[in-house]
């Protein structure tokens, strides 16, 4: 692979990554030596810094990541306060409630209960620290199962999950909900 293609491939991967990417992993993906990847990444980081763009490529937490340039913090902070991440939508609250009451639960199960794709909402909830992966479905597919976090309990002023308000008797119990899910074919991922 030419250096220029390797650089472009690194940029592409780092652009879609949500977390810092380990250079070891990058080396495997690009079939290059780790030393070569480190060299290319350091090169890229220097180029980006010299270019004076709105973001930097930095080495952090054991990997490389694109992040906003610190001197643009005032604008980014406005975005944080007024943008997409400033509100809990009704959809997000419903999703959080399903995870809270049904945990451990997979994304597909949440999607089936809500009747709509829940991936983006689940990612946001996870990023904000309200839910987290708690295990894997033992069945085929080994879907990642989610549950709520300590932070979630703290924010709601609950001591433990047992303190969640009970669902009244007349609402569909877990068996009914499960039957509903089976009817929707949720069990398969």
């Amino acid at each position: 692979m030419s250096s220029s293609e390797a650089r472009r491939a690194l940029e592409a991967i780092l652009m879609v990554a949500e977390e810092p990417v380990d250079p070891q992993l990058l080396a495997e993906l690009l079939e290059l030596s780790p030393a070569r990847v480190e060299e290319l990444c350091a090169d890229l980081a220097a180029t980006w810094e010299a270019d004076d763009r709105g973001f930097l490529l930095v080495r952090v937490a054991g990997g490389y990541r694109f992040q906003s340039h610190p001197d643009l913090a005032p604008y980014v902070e406005r975005f944080v306060l007024h943008g997409q991440s400033a509100r809990l939508s009704a959809a997000a609250l419903e999703t959080l409630a399903i995870v809270a009451y049904k945990q451990p639960v997979s994304r597909a199960q949440v999607a089936a209960i809500r009747g709509v794709n829940a991936d983006a909402v689940m990612r946001t909830l996870q990023q904000r620290g309200y839910i987290e992966g708690v295990g894997r479905d033992p069945g085929p597919g080994q879907a990642l199962l989610y549950g709520t976090t300590r932070l979630f309990l703290e924010k709601l002023g609950l001591d433990s999950l047992a303190d969640l308000p009970p669902l009244a008797d007349f609402v569909p119990g877990p068996e009914a909900v499960e039957a509903f899910e089976r009817g929707l074919g949720v069990r398969e991922e």
């Binding site: 902070e77 609250l93 904000r128 509903f180």
Partner: protein
């Protein structure tokens, strides 16, 4: 957008668990489209018994009858039988003009539906090509960096455990009441009730009028039937007089009720 030749296979194996002549059709139009466009078969030549045999053999092999699949097949078979019956009808010389026109109308309707179906199938393939091209790019969805997360407003501020419970109940409410599905039946576009109402307004001003005149300009035989049922309804309520001097003669209609009639409840005719 420049698109390469479609990458997705045209055929796939849907949930319908049986195969008729090695291909599974998604509904009667799918089958018809296939027969007409790809096989270039004259419908006259299709052997219904061949399809039925293949289907029955498959059902036997499965040991279980899938109700959905069976129903779907019935719809396909019914459409084919209907078409074949049309082809078996006597030639134009033996058919009266109304019948012939009705036949042409139905053929046109079927043709229009086939064209519509083909249009959306091709549009669907174009959407797949767009999705295929767009799928080569992956979006950045990284979201806030850790130090920014601390800045972010607390999303759960003001959310109580009771709110959470309410949200759960909202989300788990059954979305659709169970019902018998009749979606595959062609929808009736006009209801008898609607036409009764319409006639009760228009007839008083028209004096004596022929049924032919009342139904001129109607698109389908179904609309004509609905209009006829509406007239019978008005007759039952004593609001119109029907007169037909001879069998198969011209039917005339005259309004005999008050200028603005109070209509009794109309029986609903289910499609």
């Amino acid at each position: 957008m420049v698109c390469a030749r479609r990458a997705t296979p045209r055929r796939y194996c849907p949930r319908v668990p049986y195969e008729v002549q090695t291909t599974v059709y998604e509904g009667p139009f799918d089958l018809l489209l296939h027969l007409i466009t790809r096989e270039e078969v004259d419908l006259w030549e299709i052997s219904l018994s061949g399809i039925v045999d293949a289907y029955l053999a498959e059902v036997e092999r499965m040991g279980v009858v899938d109700l959905d699949a069976a129903t779907e097949f019935l719809v396909i078979a019914a459409t084919l039988v209907e078409l074949k019956c049309r082809r078996l009808l006597p030639g134009p010389a033996d058919v009266d003009v109304d019948e012939e026109l009705a036949l042409f109308e139905e053929r046109d309707l079927l043709l229009a539906r086939l064209l519509e179906c083909k249009t959306f199938r091709d549009a669907g393939e174009a959407l797949a090509r767009l999705a295929g091209a767009a799928g080569l790019s992956h979006p950045r969805t990284a979201g806030l960096e850790p130090h920014l997360l601390e800045l972010a407003p607390d999303l759960l501020a003001g959310v109580s455990p009771a709110d959470l419970r309410a949200a759960y109940l909202r989300a788990t409410q059954p979305k659709r009441p169970p019902r018998v599905d009749i979606d595959h039946v062609a929808p009736i576009r006009v209801s008898v009730r609607d036409v009764v109402d319409e006639l009760a307004v228009s007839l008083p001003a028209q004096g004596r009028v022929t049924f032919r005149r009342l139904t001129s300009g109607l698109a389908t035989r179904l609309d004509v039937i609905v209009r006829f049922l509406a007239l019978l309804e008005l007759y039952k309520q004593g609001l119109v007089e029907l007169d037909q001097p001879s069998t198969f003669g011209e039917l005339t209609v005259a309004w005999t009720g008050p200028a603005t009639a109070e209509l009794a409840t109309v029986d609903v005719y289910e499609g």
